[in-house]
């Protein structure tokens, strides 16, 4: 593995591994990063740049692509471009927060399980295994039936569903690190469990966990889009890309842009994340089919 030394850098300190990895990226990886950056920007600053909002209706219904409406109009005559950009906030934002929560909680629990005794490990592992016995969509439907669907609720649901997967992945990595000599040295030195978890083990599992985070993000996007498509996710008048496909399904009969554009948006985001993960050096999680 080649390391790039920073010009005039600190003595003996290699460049950040992420920088080195990005330099080795293939062209498809860069395309993926570009698409993700585009949607992230659209979610953050997009709505401010548009001259009209997605709430203003009144135009022709299901109008085709034109100079006035770059992506046509939806079933109420609203501008599709504005709707898709506003939808990016929900799709990208909600999924991102949920994924961070799921991976964060999963990693912390895994560190706890690896660094402390056998009992906490066994209890956590068994408890989280129970959650994986319920298919993800079924669990989401149950949560919506029980608690209704609001944005915080959707975030919590997606986070709960994907904690066990992140936990299992992080625990497998952390248990290996925990058995290494320098961790024993740290313990013998009298470091507390928290120090061992966060300073000794965490930095060594962070890389693979970030790749896992990307993969989990795709699952969350797919789950939330499916839920919205069923009409049980983000509620109108707000809309994520899944709801946009549902709302405009009437345009399907004449292949209207209002149903095709949000579909393409979802596909572009998930495929882009997959491309980036495929170009990371340690992308073995995918091959093993962890879901």
């Amino acid at each position: 593995m080649s390391t790039i030394t920073t010009p005039g850098g600190f003595a003996g300190r290699p460049a950040s591994p992420w920088f080195a990895r990005l330099a080795q990226f293939g062209a498809t990886g860069w395309i993926g990063i570009a698409v993700i950056a585009f949607w992230a920007l659209a979610a953050i600053v997009g709505p401010a740049l548009l001259s009209r909002t997605g709430a203003a209706g009144g135009g022709a219904v299901f109008a085709p692509i034109s100079a006035d409406h770059w992506l046509g109009t939806d079933y109420l005559g609203r501008d599709m471009l504005a709707r898709v950009i506003e939808g990016a906030r929900y799709t990208v934002g909600v999924a991102f927060v949920a994924t961070l929560l799921a991976s964060g909680i999963g990693t912390l629990l895994a560190l706890l399980a690896a660094a402390t005794g056998r009992w906490i490990d066994a209890a956590l592992s068994r408890g989280l295994d129970t959650l994986t016995a319920i298919p993800s969509k079924m669990f989401a439907l149950l949560m919506v039936a029980g608690f209704g669907s609001s944005v915080p609720m959707l975030i919590a649901t997606a986070a709960v569903i994907y904690v066990p997967g992140a936990y299992r992945m992080a625990r497998a990595l952390a248990v290996n690190i925990n058995a290494l000599d320098y961790v024993t040295v740290a313990r013998t030195r009298g470091e507390r469990t928290g120090y061992v978890m966060l300073r000794e083990i965490l930095p060594n599992i962070a890389g693979p966990m970030l790749a896992d985070l990307g993969l989990r993000f795709v699952y969350v996007v797919l789950l939330l889009a499916s839920l919205s498509f069923l009409g049980l996710g983000v509620q109108p008048p707000a809309a994520d890309w899944g709801s946009l496909v549902r709302e405009n399904i009437g345009a399907l009969a004449d292949a209207g842009s209002s149903v095709i554009v949000p579909s393409l948006a979802i596909a572009s985001l998930t495929i882009a994340v997959n491309l980036v993960i495929d170009n990371l050096p340690g992308h073995s999680a995918r091959e093993r089919g962890v879901r």
Binding site: I134, M138, S226, G242, V245, L252, I271, G289
Partner: protein, 318 residues
Amino acid sequence: MNALILKLLGQRIALALLSLLAVSVVVFAITAVLPGDAAQEQLGQDATAEALAALRAQMGLDVPAPRRYLHWLGGLLSGNLGVSSTTQLPVSELIGSRLPNSLLLAAVAALFSVPIALSLGVAAAVWRGSWFDRAASTGAVAVVSVPEFLVATLAVLVFAVQLRWLPALSYVADIESLGQLLRAFAMPVLTLCCVIVAQMMRMTRAAVIDQLEAPYIEMVRLKGASPLRIVLAHALPNAVGPIANAVALSLSYLLGGVIIVETIFNYPGIAKLMVDGVSQRDMPLVQACAMLFCSAYLILVTTADLFGIVANPRLRHR
């Protein structure tokens, strides 16, 4: 078959039953305990204490949650699934009328996708690195990384809108001939197949490649066996366990798939029933459907495990 295998099989089945019990606790907790007082919600904030108490007694909410759970579980085991809160019909009747439709859809989808996926997966493994392998693998990744409803929408767009071969919606009610049956089923089955074939092909490919890279295959190749013989006589018999495992696991994706497919094609199956139940918050219906789906899922996952154990030669000859 020996005592060790039987013991392992018994353990897996006991574990599955235990998981199912734990799942029932989770399902009951999410739908009936954690959301709070259902009577309060139904009557609103300014209901009188007497009205609340009366409705609670009528809904059976005046007993503590553990006893309600046991009562519900007992009903579930004896086939008494309760009464739907929106239609006032017995849940077992509602499910009974829809279940055959869903089973038929799943069976037809499995019938088509298993042979296609297995032959694609084995072919991709044998010619790994070729253009065929790359095309098949890329296609599979593309299908796996988009939502099911997108595959369905695309299928409608191509086959019903552009080519006009098939009707966009399926209605099981007005089927008289075999031709109509095929036409009505074509779109839902096509969509489900796409999703499952992609999953199963990837897993089969991985399982066969695992065998083809083992040292004994190199030995067979050095011995001068033909490529066909290497695959059919040497690699495949050893890959049967992992492949059966892959088939059972991929079929569990059917469960997620039917939820979307039945809704988008308006197919009167059990998943559509459950989605309607969720949007109307019809708890008895949702609970029963959820338990049905989770049981099916656990059966498939456990079957995958059992295949893995039975097909492992190291366990068989001990």
